[in-house]
Amino acid sequence: MAWYRRPEIRIIIVALTTILVITDFFIAVKTYNDFIKQLLVWSVIISGFTIVLGAVNIGVVHGKHIIKKTPGQWYFSLWLIICVIVTFILAAGSEGIPAMKSAYDYLINNIHTPLTSAAYGLIGFYFASCIFRAFRGRNSYVAVFLLSGCLTLLLNAPVTELVPFIPAVGNWVVAVPNVAGTRGIVIGAAVGIIAAGLRNILGLERGGLLAEE
C-alpha cells in the first residue's frame, strides 16, 4: 500500500490536531494561541469545501440518472439539476443585480418556503398517526413517558391557561424530572465525548475515516 494511503498517517493527524486544540485551552502563549486561531480558520475554509462537495455529489448522482435515462426518474433528475443551476445563478447574481435579487427572493419566499414547509410538515402527519398507533400505556415506563409528554404538550397550548393547574404542573415537569433525566443523559454524553477524544488521541479508534482502505 502506498504510504499516503496508510491509516497510521490519518490517525496521527487526528491525534495531533485533537491534542493541539485541547492544549490551547490551557496554554496562554500568544504564538501558540495565534497558531490555533489560524488552524480554526483553516478548518472553517475546509468546511466550506465540504458543503460544496455535498452539493456536487447530489449533482453527480442525478447526472448519472440523466445519462443512463433511468425510466421514470431521468426527467425528474433533469428538473432537479435545472433547479440547482437556476438557484445558484439567481443567488450569485442577487449580490449586484436588483432584478436577480427580486427573482431570488421570489424563489425563496414564494416557491421554496411553502414547498419545503409542506414536505417537512408531512412528518407532523406521520407523527400524529404514530401517536395513534404506538403510544399506548403498555407498562409503567411508557405511562410516565405519556403523562410527561401530555403535560408538556398542554403547556405549549395557550388555551390550557384557562385551567390553572396545567401550566403549573407542566412547568414543574420541565423544570424538575426533565432536568434530572436530561442532565443524566448530558453527563453520559460528556463522558462519551471524552472517551472518544481519548480513543482518538491514543490511536485506538479504527473505524470510518481511520479504517484500512
Binding site: 480558520v41 483553516w42 458543503i51 445558484f88 414564494n110 414547498l115 403535560l151 453527563i187
Partner: protein
C-alpha cells in the same frame, strides 16, 4: 395580479407536497425534486460564499498563510472519485481532530463539571417545595447517570436506583416528545394559511373533490 397569484401558487405547491398523504404521485415527485434542487442550489451558493469570504478574498488580499487551507479544501473534492478518495482523507482528518478537540475541551467543563456542580443543590431551605424539588433533581440526576453504567449488572440496590433513573429518563423523553410535537407540526402552519384562506381554499376544495372521485373510482376498479 400578485394579490392572488402568489397565494395561489403557494397553495398549489403545498397541495403538491401534501398529495403524498393520499398516495405517491408525479405531482409529489415534482415537488420533492424542486425542493432538493433549490436547497442544493442554496447550499452550493452558501458554500461558495463561505469559501470566498473566509478563504479566497483574504488570500488575494495578502494572507498567503491560507494557501495550504485552500489546497486542503480542494483535496476534499477528491471524495467524488474512487481514485482520488485518499486525498480527501487528510482535510477530513484535520476537521475531525479540530472538532473533537473543541468538543472535548468544552465538554469537560460545560457538560460534565458544571452540570455536576449545578446538581449540588441545597435541601434545607425555608421553602419545603424547593427542598423537595432539589431533592428530586439530586436523586434523579444521580439515578439517571447510573443507568448509563454498563460495567456492572443492574441488580440489588444498584438495580433499584437504575430503574428509578429510567423513570426520570422516560419523563425527560416524554417532555421532549411533547415539545417535539409542536416542532413537527409547525412547518404545516405556513402552507395551511395558504391552503385555507382565499384564493387557496378554492384550490384545496377542488383537490379534495378530485381525491374523493379517485378514491371511488379505485374502489370500483378494485385497486
Amino acid at each position: 395580479m400578485s394579490d392572488w397569484f402568489i397565494p395561489l401558487l403557494g397553495a398549489a405547491l403545498s397541495i403538491f407536497a401534501f398529495s403524498f398523504l393520499y398516495r405517491d404521485n408525479p405531482f409529489f415527485k415534482f415537488a420533492e425534486h424542486t425542493i432538493v434542487g433549490v436547497a442544493v442550489g442554496i447550499e452550493l451558493y452558501s458554500g461558495y460564499q463561505s469559501i470566498l469570504k473566509t478563504g479566497w478574498t483574504p488570500l488575494t488580499g495578502g494572507s498567503y498563510i491560507l494557501i495550504p487551507a485552500m489546497i486542503l479544501g480542494v483535496m476534499t473534492l477528491g471524495r467524488l472519485s474512487k481514485r482520488t478518495i485518499w486525498a480527501s482523507n487528510y482535510p477530513l482528518c484535520i476537521l475531525m481532530g479540530v472538532g473533537l478537540g473543541l468538543a472535548v475541551r468544552g465538554a469537560v467543563i460545560g457538560q460534565l463539571l458544571d452540570q455536576i456542580r449545578a446538581t449540588l443543590l441545597p435541601m434545607a431551605t425555608p421553602n419545603p417545595i424547593n427542598n423537595l424539588n432539589n431533592f428530586l433533581i439530586v436523586v434523579g440526576t444521580t439515578a439517571s447517570t447510573m443507568y448509563f453504567i454498563f460495567t456492572r449488572s443492574h441488580t440489588g440496590i444498584f438495580g433499584f436506583l437504575t430503574k428509578l433513573g429510567r423513570y426520570f429518563i422516560m419523563a425527560a423523553m416524554g417532555a421532549t416528545f411533547g415539545s417535539m410535537s409542536l416542532t413537527f407540526l409547525s412547518p404545516v402552519i405556513g402552507p395551511a394559511f395558504l391552503m385555507f384562506r382565499e384564493p387557496g381554499i378554492y384550490l384545496t376544495a377542488a383537490t379534495l373533490i378530485v381525491i374523493l372521485v379517485d378514491m371511488i373510482y379505485r374502489r370500483r376498479k378494485g385497486v
